[in-house]
Structures are given as structure tokens and as C-alpha cells.
Amino acid sequence: MKNTLLIAGKEIKSYFASPIAYFLMAFFALIFGPTFYVSTRDMIRMGLQAQMMGQQQPMNINDMIIRPLLGFAGTISLFLIPMISMRLFAEEKRSGTIELLLTSPVRDIEIILGKWLGAMALFLCILGMSMLNIAFLFMWGKPDVLPVLVAYLGLILQGGCLLAIGEFVSTTTKNQIIAGGVTFFFCLLLYLLSYYIGYDTGVIAQVVGYLSIVTHLDNFSKGLLSLKDVIFYFSMIFLALFMTARSLESSRWRA
């Protein structure tokens, strides 16, 4: 545990010692901000139009702004996560610092968890940028807090899952670009699975649909917290971290 936190701390420091953390946070803010502006503006216009037409429909901030916005944040994170995870092991392998980690009295699992937690911390910081915008909605509107929290939980779980996959990919190569590229491919694949099945309802379609990260995130962004989805993410995280451990071990044998 102590070692895990030590390594996590080192990872966080490394992210913030290089431009990558600031770049990713700025990148996210620059994409999320205008989207937030546009969707808020559209909602206000629709509200005014509805009033002028004499219709009095209650406008729901949760449904009209927060839900699509946080769904969109999930999509952006597909692009950001490979950039976070690609360096985790690839950089250590390239620079030889992996020899320090693997010859210190630290268990592999502590290294893997530490790195994953470090990457998660950066991901949370990036996600935190969106809270600046969401906070405005709370200042001038009255959205429900609970669905927002559930949606964030979904984003965090999805991020954890993709980061774990990215960490696994990163153990397989010395080349950060390859690690990033392959991770992005996996992210995209898991994202697109739900599109591939379309309206098909066969067994295969159900399995493929279950594997898609989007179907599970949808429930979270609706504010639905179901055990099934939580278990999906946790099992994906566990599987990916387990594969990371196996890959790290086999890299010793292959050297």
C-alpha cells in the first residue's frame, strides 16, 4: 500500500512536471467550454421561444444540458486517455528506469496499481475542468445533484477502465506512440461496438452490446446507478490490470 501510493505520487509529479498534464487539461477545457456554451445558449433560446409561443413546458437542466454534456465528456476522454496512459510503462522501458522499479523490493501489483492510480488522478483533474462549467448551472439554476454525481461516477469508471487497458498496452512496447495508438484503437473499438449492433437483438449482439462501454455509460449519464454497470466496469478494470500484471511478468521472461 505504501509503495503503491509512493509510485502513484511519483506518476502524478511526472505528469505535472511535463507539459502533458497542462496540455490535456487545457485541451479538455477548450473543447468542453464552447460545447457547454452552445448547449446552454440553445436551451435558453428554446425556453424563450416556448414562452413566446405560449407553451409552458418545464425545462429540465439535467436532461437538456448536463446529460448530453457529460456524455460528450465521455467521448472526449476516449481521445485523452491514450495520451495519459501511453507513457506509463513504455517510457520506463525506453529510459531503463524499469530496472529500478523491478529490482526494488516492490511487488509488481504495487507498481501497476500505483501507476494506474497516478493516471486516474490526472484523469480526475482533467474531468475536474468540466466542473467549472457545471458549477455555473448550480449557481443560476436548480439541477438535481444526484444524477450529476452518478454521471461523474460513470465517467470515472469508464476512464478507469480505459486507463487500465492503456496501461496494459503500455507494458507491451517501448514506443509511446505505438502504445498511444493501439490504446486509442481499443478505446474506439469499445466505443463503436454499440453502433455495430444497431437494432439487432440476437445473442451475439447482446454480448457485443454488453462489451460496449457506451451502453453502460448511457445509464450513468441518465442518472441510473445500477449494480450491473458498476460490476461491468470493475470487472473490466480488474481484467485489464490482471493482463498488465501477466504482461509485465512475461516481459521479464522474454526480456
Partner: protein, 333 residues
């Protein structure tokens, strides 16, 4: 302290280490000597639990590297070929991290880091970023991280590479100070390094141990006899080379006289003695008594360098199928 028995490491197509065995006693400094690609780094990586052996056993302080890797790792300080440094960290910061990783408690870490900084004379750069340091300083930070937890065994892969002569001497002194309480294995392909620092040498070539002995014994064993270079001034035609050679061959205890190319009007010979005979005084007398001018008389003891070449070359002859051409500098075996 360190015991290696029948250690073999095979990669997909190559055998990096082929059935090697050696032992290191507590407090010794052992030099691991061999050309690039001989298997030095692989052996060290197995000892530090970075790589598992294909066959054979290795143990450090009584713990097997495969069965109790944690115990072994706790007792080893390791400097890999490329010092494992994070360029974005400061020197002190990095040593704190490395020390904590090696199990030093947060209460002790500051003192230990300061001690390592002092021992490796890193005081001037302690707050600098590692990425901004010169190669020599980086090497020393690498050594500092290896000794920070005061391990009983130090494994140093080419500790003096990239250092200037003054720093090499400092590292040598540091190693001498560490020896005794620490057992040290260091690898190098610089022979003078071994002659200065190590009590014992393990020469390995093409994955095999070619010789294991103390430096003195090794030099003696292979030298066998004394070799002396003699230069005689020749005025005009006198003495003739043949005549001089004949005269020298008559000296007692001489086994062989080899005439060398004359230089600046001086005849030059290389003379080998019989086993255990001291011939220099007799040679000098013989030359002077013949009325010639002796301009130089010097011992050409076989250096470790020649022994090394001789050993590794003979190995090549008997095993021509093994690739022994020196790998490019910095290549990993």
C-alpha cells in the same frame, strides 16, 4: 555471499549465459570482465531478479533469486548499465523516491539521502534536475541510488563509464571505502579498472567463465616467466645483431631471445626467462662485459590486458561458431 551454479540464460536464438558458476565471499570486490556481449549484464540482471534464469541457480545472501526475490532485492543495490534516472526529478527528490522504494522509512530517508549525496559528492547538484546533469553526475546519482539503503551486496554494471579520470579515481576510492562491509560485483571492459579495484576477477567470454582468480594469481599464472626488453646501442656495425643475440642467449636462465626491429641505431630484443628465474642483472652484466652500451632494460610483464586478450582469443579458436565480435557500444546482451 553470492553463489552462482550452472547458470544459463537462453533467449530465442542466442545463449547469453552458458552454464556459468562462481562464488563471491563476503566483503570482496569482484570484477566481471569480458568483451561487449559476453553476458555480463545478463548475469547481473539475473542476480538482481530482473531476469529469471533459464537453468541453474543463483543465490544472494543465502536467498535464491527465484524463490525469494523480495529478500534478494532488499539486500542488493544495483546500478544498471544505463543509470535508471527520471530526468524530470531533482537529485535529492529522486534519491528520496528511490530510497523509499527500497524500504527506507520516511523518518530515516532524509539522513540516508544526505549520506548518499555526501558519499557520491553530489552536494553541488542536489537541487538540480537530473535531466540537466552531465553524464558523470548522472552516473554518480545512479551509484547513490544503489548505495542509499546500505545494502550488503552491490552490483554495479560499468560504474565508471562516462566519468572523467578524476571522477574515476573518486569512484574507485568510494568502492574501496564500501568494500569490507559490502560485497561488490562490478562489470567493466576496462582492464585497469579491475587491476585497481578488484580483489578477484571473473573473466567471461561468449557466455562462459574463462577464468576466475585473484588479479595477482592470474597475472602470475599466465605470465609464468619474466619477460625483459633490452636495447643495446650499436655504434657503426658493432655489435652485429646476430652476435648480440648469441651473447644474450648464453646468459643463464634465458629461454628465448626474440630480435625486434632496430630503432635509432639501437638493437632491440625481447627476452623471456625460464620459470622463476631473475635474469635482469645477468643480462645487464653480459651486455656491459661485452663492451656494449646498454641503453634500456625493462620488464615487460604481461598486463591483464594481454591475459584477457589471450584468454578470450583462445576461446574464440576453440569455439568458432559462437559470435564473439564485439557488439556495438552500449548494446544490451
Amino acid at each position: 555471499m553470492i553463489k552462482v551454479e550452472g547458470l544459463t540464460k537462453r533467449y530465442a536464438r542466442t545463449v547469453a549465459v552458458d552454464n556459468i558458476s562462481f562464488e563471491v565471499e563476503k566483503g570482496q570486490i569482484v570484477g566481471f570482465l569480458g568483451p561487449n556481449g559476453a553476458g555480463k549484464t545478463t548475469t547481473m540482471r539475473i542476480l538482481t531478479c530482473f531476469l529469471p534464469p533459464t537453468e541453474g541457480k543463483a543465490s544472494v545472501a543465502g536467498f535464491d533469486v527465484q524463490e525469494h526475490p523480495m529478500e534478494v532485492k532488499r539486500r542488493i543495490g544495483y546500478l544498471p548499465e544505463t543509470p535508471p534516472l527520471y530526468p524530470e526529478m531533482g537529485v535529492a527528490e529522486f534519491l528520496h523516491f528511490a530510497g523509499r522504494l527500497k524500504g527506507i522509512s520516511s523518518a530515516d530517508i532524509k539522513g540516508r539521502a544526505d549520506e548518499a549525496i555526501g558519499r557520491c559528492s553530489l552536494g553541488d547538484v542536489r537541487d538540480k534536475l537530473i535531466g540537466k546533469l552531465s553524464k558523470g553526475y548522472r552516473q554518480r546519482v545512479g551509484i547513490a541510488q544503489a548505495i542509499i539503503h546500505n545494502p550488503p551486496v552491490l552490483i554495479l554494471d560499468e560504474p565508471t563509464s562516462g566519468l572523467d579520470p578524476k571522477q574515476i579515481i573518486e569512484i574507485r576510492d568510494l568502492l574501496h571505502a564500501l568494500a569490507g562491509e559490502h560485497t561488490i560485483i562490478l562489470s567493466t571492459h576496462i582492464l585497469s579498472e579491475v587491476e585497481h579495484s578488484c580483489g578477484r576477477v571473473v573473466i567471461i567470454n561468449a557466455g562462459k567463465v574463462v577464468a576466475t582468480d585473484t588479479v595477482d594469481n592470474l597475472t602470475n599464472r599466465l605470465r609464468g616467466s619474466e619477460a625483459v626488453a633490452v636495447e643495446i646501442e650499436a655504434a657503426g656495425e658493432h655489435p652485429a645483431a646476430g652476435e648480440a643475440q648469441q651473447r644474450l642467449e648464453q646468459v643463464q636462465g634465458v629461454s628465448r631471445v626474440v630480435a625486434k626491429e632496430p630503432k635509432d641505431g639501437r638493437l632491440r630484443f625481447e627476452i623471456e626467462s625460464l620459470q622463476g628465474r631473475h635474469i635482469r642483472a645477468d643480462l645487464a652484466r653480459a651486455v656491459v662485459n661485452s663492451g656494449w652500451n646498454l641503453s634500456e632494460l625493462s620488464s615487460v610483464g604481461m598486463s591483464l590486458e594481454e591475459i584477457f586478450l589471450q584468454l578470450t582469443a583462445s576461446e574464440q579458436k576453440t569455439k568458432p561458431e559462437i559470435e564473439t565480435a564485439p557488439a556495438p557500444e552500449g548494446a544490451q546482451q
